[in-house]
């Protein structure tokens, strides 16, 4: 079966600086795949390249058998790729409802209403706060809003960039449960996470990026047992978890 996402030899430059070099990865239908790595390793860049926010220098990105390497960002969204950007990037001066409506920009007008209802069903707290300004939401609610907004066009692939960043442990557990539920409904997920332990527990497979190159890839269990991953990411994770929690 063809994967939902097939990235081959992706190379991205920011000006003269190389951010990604020859990265290849796949996400299967209905699969959760995680992308691990330190800050600046190129995780966010990978997601941005897939959703058309940055143009790769070289390589090929195929989504559901269609080459989207040069496609504009709005066409990629319409094709079924949802992106929850790093730092959530909600629209702070918009109400919760307006945020969702912008998320439904590519959705046919007659269907927007039911999509909003579906988002409120997944995140009841958003329904209760629908006319509140998004900037006044708590961090966890903002993350839910960002995810709800990305789900408006009913994507079949969801790119999640650090969904638990800055959240208290209890809330990040909640977010991970939500990701599992979204995946249960058949949406494939490519997850970028600092919290490697939790990401590997959720994902079937993982990739590790180091300064723009893939260094390790494999099933989550194998990654969790890999000594390089253990020292560099799970060890780091423990120190971070202690400081943040």
């Amino acid at each position: 079966m063809t994967p939902v996402l097939d990235v081959q030899d992706l190379t991205v430059y920011y000006g003269k600086r190389r951010a990604l070099e020859g990265v290849s990865l796949t996400v299967g239908r209905g699969e959760i795949v995680t992308l691990l790595g330190a800050n600046g390793a190129g995780k966010s860049t990978t997601l941005r390249a897939v959703s058309g926010l940055v143009r790769p220098e070289r390589g090929r990105i195929v989504y559901e058998g269609r080459d989207i390497t040069q496609a504009p960002a709005d066409a990629i969204v319409a094709a079924g790729v949802g992106h929850v950007p790093e730092g959530r990037e909600i629209f702070p001066e918009f109400t919760v409802l307006e945020n969702l409506l912008v998320g439904g920009h590519t959705v046919r007008r007659s269907q927007v209403g039911e999509r909003v209802d579906a988002a409120f069903e997944l995140f009841p707290v958003l329904g209760r706060r629908q006319s509140q300004l998004a900037g006044t939401l708590s961090g966890g609610e903002q993350q839910m809003l960002a995810i709800g907004r990305a789900l408006m066009p009913r994507p079949r692939l969801l790119l999640l960039d650090e969904p638990s960043l800055g959240l208290a442990p209890l809330l990040s557990r909640e977010i991970f449960r939500v990701i599992q539920r979204i995946n249960d409904s058949g949406v494939a997920v490519l997850l970028v996470e600092q919290n490697a332990r939790r990401a590997l527990a959720l994902a079937a497979r993982g990739y590790v990026l180091e300064t723009g190159r893939l260094v390790v890839a494999g099933p989550s269990a194998a990654l969790a047992a890999d000594p390089r991953v253990r020292t560099a990411y799970l060890g780091l994770d423990r120190a971070r978890g202690g400081a943040a929690g």
Partner: protein
């Protein structure tokens, strides 16, 4: 509270011509015209971060279009003439906006600055129709059987048109297109990730901005009654930028307040022409230092401080990202 304030404002605006001398009615008309320009400029600069130093050029195109229509097609009702002035200017905005998509910041400012100069040169060179430096006298426009021959009549016309345009700008977030435009202001990345075509909406901002300024130009021609190219010099463009910075970037009420402050200042400083740039420069620097969100956000902060602790009135923190739930 809000309703009472609006009602008071409406009474003041509508009753003004009966309470103040004629000259102030003229000045008030000018403030209203400039408010429309400031809202238009804010649609571009405040919402999509594209700074323009060429809006005097758009104003000139609208003004000359409106004036020439009034002269050569006197049967055309005023609203139609203003609409055409807006549409012609919007078309020019489209033609300028597309190449400007590739430019940002300083380069965009320079390109729009150049556009302003080109418009003035064009007016001078098309003297067979614009009368060049001699200037163009604009006859009183007609609205059906009524000739808009008095300052008061022209004032009410500008107020009516401005009310429509302000209402449209305030309700822009109710439409799909308007929301997408504002989303670009809030977060370009998230707007793109939501499927908003960035280039299309940045161009749309240029077109809308030019339309507003073009309509304002048509009104300007009627209010002032005489057009010459030197009314549309680069300093006027700088004044417009000053209006939205002093008033508040991205704010409709701020645009009106900024237009009122700058227009009034311009008028009261008429006797000190040589010191004008100095005083304006000082005001700009001071408002950027001490009032970065302009008058609009300073007023909002004051009213929040007055109603401290009252939930729902507090403006959101700039961009809370890492807030934790208890």
């Amino acid at each position: 509270m809000r309703r009472a304030a609006l009602a008071t404002g409406a009474v003041v605006v509508l009753g003004l011509p009966w309470a103040v001398p004629r000259y102030f009615v003229f000045l008030a008309s000018l403030i209203v015209v400039n408010s429309i320009v400031a809202i238009g400029l804010n649609l571009l600069s405040g919402y999509t971060n594209q700074l323009s130093f060429g809006h005097a050029g758009f104003l000139a195109i609208g003004a000359y279009t409106g004036a020439l229509l009034t002269i050569h097609a006197p049967a055309l009702p005023v609203p139609a003439a203003l609409l055409v002035a807006g549409l012609v200017t919007a078309a020019v905005g489209l033609a300028l906006g597309i190449p400007c998509l590739r430019l940002e910041g300083l380069y965009l400012a320079m390109a729009t600055l150049a556009f302003g100069f080109v418009v003035v040169e064009a007016i001078l060179n098309l003297d067979w129709i614009t009368r060049g430096n001699d200037g163009l006298r604009v006859p009183a426009a007609r609205l059906g059987p009524i000739a808009l021959a008095t300052d008061t009549a022209r004032y009410y016309l500008t107020v009516a048109v401005a009310a429509l345009l302000i209402l449209a700008a305030l309700n822009i977030a109710r439409t799909r297109t308007g929301r997408a435009l504002l989303a670009v202001r809030e977060s370009e990345i998230a707007a793109q990730a939501s499927g908003v075509h960035l280039a299309a909406y940045k161009t749309l901002a240029f077109v809308l901005s030019a339309f507003y300024t073009g309509v304002a130009g048509g009104l300007f021609a009627l209010v002032v009654g005489f057009l010459s190219p030197d009314s549309f010099d680069v300093f006027l463009s700088v004044d417009f930028v000053a209006m939205i910075i002093v008033g508040g970037l991205g704010s409709v009420p701020g645009s009106v307040l900024g237009a009122a402050v700058i227009t009034t200042l311009n008028d009261s400083l008429a006797g000190f022409q040589n010191y004008r740039p100095l005083i304006f420069g000082a005001i700009l620097i001071a408002s950027m230092l001490f009032m970065p969100g302009g008058i609009a956000s300073a007023l909002r902060k004051l009213s929040v401080a007055g109603a401290a602790g009252y939930p729902g009135t507090a403006p959101p923190a700039a961009k809370p990202r890492q807030g934790d739930d208890p």
